[in-house]
Symmetry: C2
Subunit: 363 residues, 2 copies
DNA sequence: TTCGAAAATGTCACCGGTGTCAATCCTAAT
DNA sequence: ATTAGGATTGACACCGGTGACATTTTCGAA
């Protein structure tokens, strides 16, 4: 819709105001314009853009001045073509929780703010046999700068191996040490489980149940192990019939809780492996005619927004998801910055006590 | 990490198996390879890729065969550079609800599946004065193919004007006719409000309140207008003191509901402008000692997942958000496909009756 | 059979950068 | 003053496509 064709012959000295003022608005300036005005080769300008140390300070300053004056920004497409590497950060996920996904996204975007990188979404379905191939083809075609893999994609070892072959950097977010080494964000889910267990034990509960996630998730085991560890410290054990799977879903949580409550000696407290299942437990507990927390205490995990919106509000374990996303992106971007060493950043969860837990009542 | 340098002299006939088998795995083939093997100019290959009608059927078939054999896929970066337009679809949003955002994303991704386009996220903050400028700069730098603007960004007229100036296509998702013409996905929020009103009226409620969103959102007015229209059909009116703003947030919903319940004659039923506020109303109602739905009926809007997880489950108005996202992306992509006519797709919400509404009880 | 317009295809520069390697500039050592 | 070797800078091809326009076919009409 725009057809402003302005002559290209008069550049020697920049039009003092016009250039300064409009520069920001029209993204026309190219590396060639900068080179011409700065009276250097475009290659040198390129060096400045890429912060090559082999440019004399004086030259660098001069070029930077011109860049600023023109409001020049290098074209990501062209750069991507020339290097064989783009400016996209791919988020490869397969996570049922919108809350988790959105927070990871926010975190990544926080870190990407101000950089040239863009976040592209690449959901996948680990169940499909060609899922690794799809990701490979995505990489080949779009040459993303790097990938971020939150759980449970992060636990996919075949994928990690394939990624090592391919020409991409990636950072994984997981709750355990993974077989394939790589940079990663690690969460100590076990500590969270322990915190939950300790909280309930401290309140005086002796008869506690656990609704856990799918066995295929490493976090399931981490959380449970931490939980049992804490109980053990108080001399309690998690009876096998008091541990039920809830699939990390709301419906699964309802079913699991119903199962627990149907036992001859129902638990006084339930630690659910995530908030979704805890929410399901609320429903089952209420349907069964019990009160929360008077009759039964419930603890969740994740501190999703729903936790604060339930009534009574859910006591849960909080993981700083957004910060983790941000850390993951930061880790990914610092490739160039000196240390090539695979790095690891650890996050610990903390318990958020709200209204769904109380000392065991008289029942 | 890969250094396979294979000679470029022997291409006449492709290595029968190697090419066919590995082709998919290594993305090395370029348009030049295809051109050479098909014995045509790269430009003709380009024509085939872009489905130009000016290629003889026979030639086209031959080229397509070679493309398939080589597993060739055009490089998005190079294409983006040459045309001055990329393959990114930007989702520009400023929406507090993760649920909404994730569903829109899913819908868009559904539509993008199988295309060369990628979804990039571009959250923004309408409150910031430079927010339009930021988006402009994003467009200039990354030259996205198009943008999708869900509410409330879609209602930003200054932005729409700026976008018309810029070289981008965009599709807006909104609940009303907007001043600036453009392709859009329209939701009839008014009908949803009406459905809510009719439902409550049909149940026999005569004393009904409304918690609405911020006045700056067009949807706020649409929903309320539809609601009042339905009440009017039954001879009811929404008393001014029974309409309170809840800011579309949970906390706002709590406060608004508390305000309503504190009146000398509290309502029998509450229609909240979205599920967030409805959830807040649950809390306020319970705190005040009322039961749902026996004492007070509640209706929400949006049918977010939380609606089904509350107890009792929330009666709400459902908008097919994911489908809307998909439709928006489809609309955006069909630019080339024939009709340039600005198009409009309309979606109607439907009420989902669950456990939070019942005939007014004896109080 | 001939001719002209439409249909197909090719040529070549260019999009806006980066990689490679040669050329030039300095500065300290001889 | 001369010179070697590192510090800077430039020349030029190339990344993998597309646009504008030239050239060659093709084919029905004359």
């Amino acid at each position: 819709m725009k057809h402003e064709a302005d002559p290209e012959d008069a550049e020697p000295s920049s039009s003092p105001q016009a250039a300064g003022g409009e520069a920001v608005l029209r993204g026309k300036a190219t590396i060639n314009d900068v080179a011409r005005l700065a009276k250097v080769s475009k290659k040198t300008v390129s060096r400045v853009i890429n912060e090559s140390p082999f440019v004399k300070q004086k030259t660098r300053d001069a070029i930077k001045a011109v860049i600023a004056e023109l409001g020049f920004t290098p074209d990501p497409q062209a750069r991507a073509l020339a290097r064989r590497k783009g400016f996209l950060i791919g988020l490869v996920y397969d996570n049922p929780s919108p809350q988790y996904v959105v927070n990871i996204q926010r975190g990544i975007l926080d870190a990407l703010e101000g950089t040239d990188f863009q976040l592209v979404l690449h959901p996948c379905d680990r169940a499909k046999p060609d899922h690794v191939a799809r990701i490979q083809s995505f990489i080949q075609q779009h040459k993303p700068f790097g990938l971020i893999l939150p759980p449970s994609v992060s636990e996919d070892e075949p994928l990690a191996l394939a990624l090592n072959e391919a020409d991409v950097d990636y950072v994984r977010i997981a709750s355990v040490e993974l077989d394939t080494p790589s940079r990663m964000i690690r969460t100590l889910d076990g500590d969270g489980g322990a915190a939950a267990g300790r909280h309930l034990a401290d309140l005086g509960h002796r008869h506690i149940a656990h609704i856990h996630g799918p066995l295929s998730f490493r976090s399931t085991h981490e959380r449970r192990a931490g939980f049992e560890r804490a109980l053990a410290e108080t001399g309690l054990v998690l009876r096998p019939d008091m541990a039920v799977e809830g699939g990390y879903t709301f419906e699964g949580g309802v079913a699991a809780a119903e199962h627990l409550l149907a036992q001859s000696n129902p638990p006084q407290a339930i630690f659910a492996g995530n908030d979704e299942m805890a929410t399901g437990a609320y429903v089952a507990v209420r349907r069964a005619g019990f009160r929360i927390p008077e009759d039964i205490s419930i603890v969740g995990f994740d501190d999703t927004p729903i936790a604060g919106r339930l009534w009574p509000a859910l006591t849960t374990v909080r993981l700083p998801i957004r910060e983790m996303g941000s850390a993951a992106a930061t880790l990914l971007l610092q490739t160039a910055d000196g240390m090539t060493a695979k790095k690891l950043i650890t996050f610990s969860p903390e318990i958020v006590v709200r209204g769904s837990t109380a000392a065991p009542g008289t029942r």
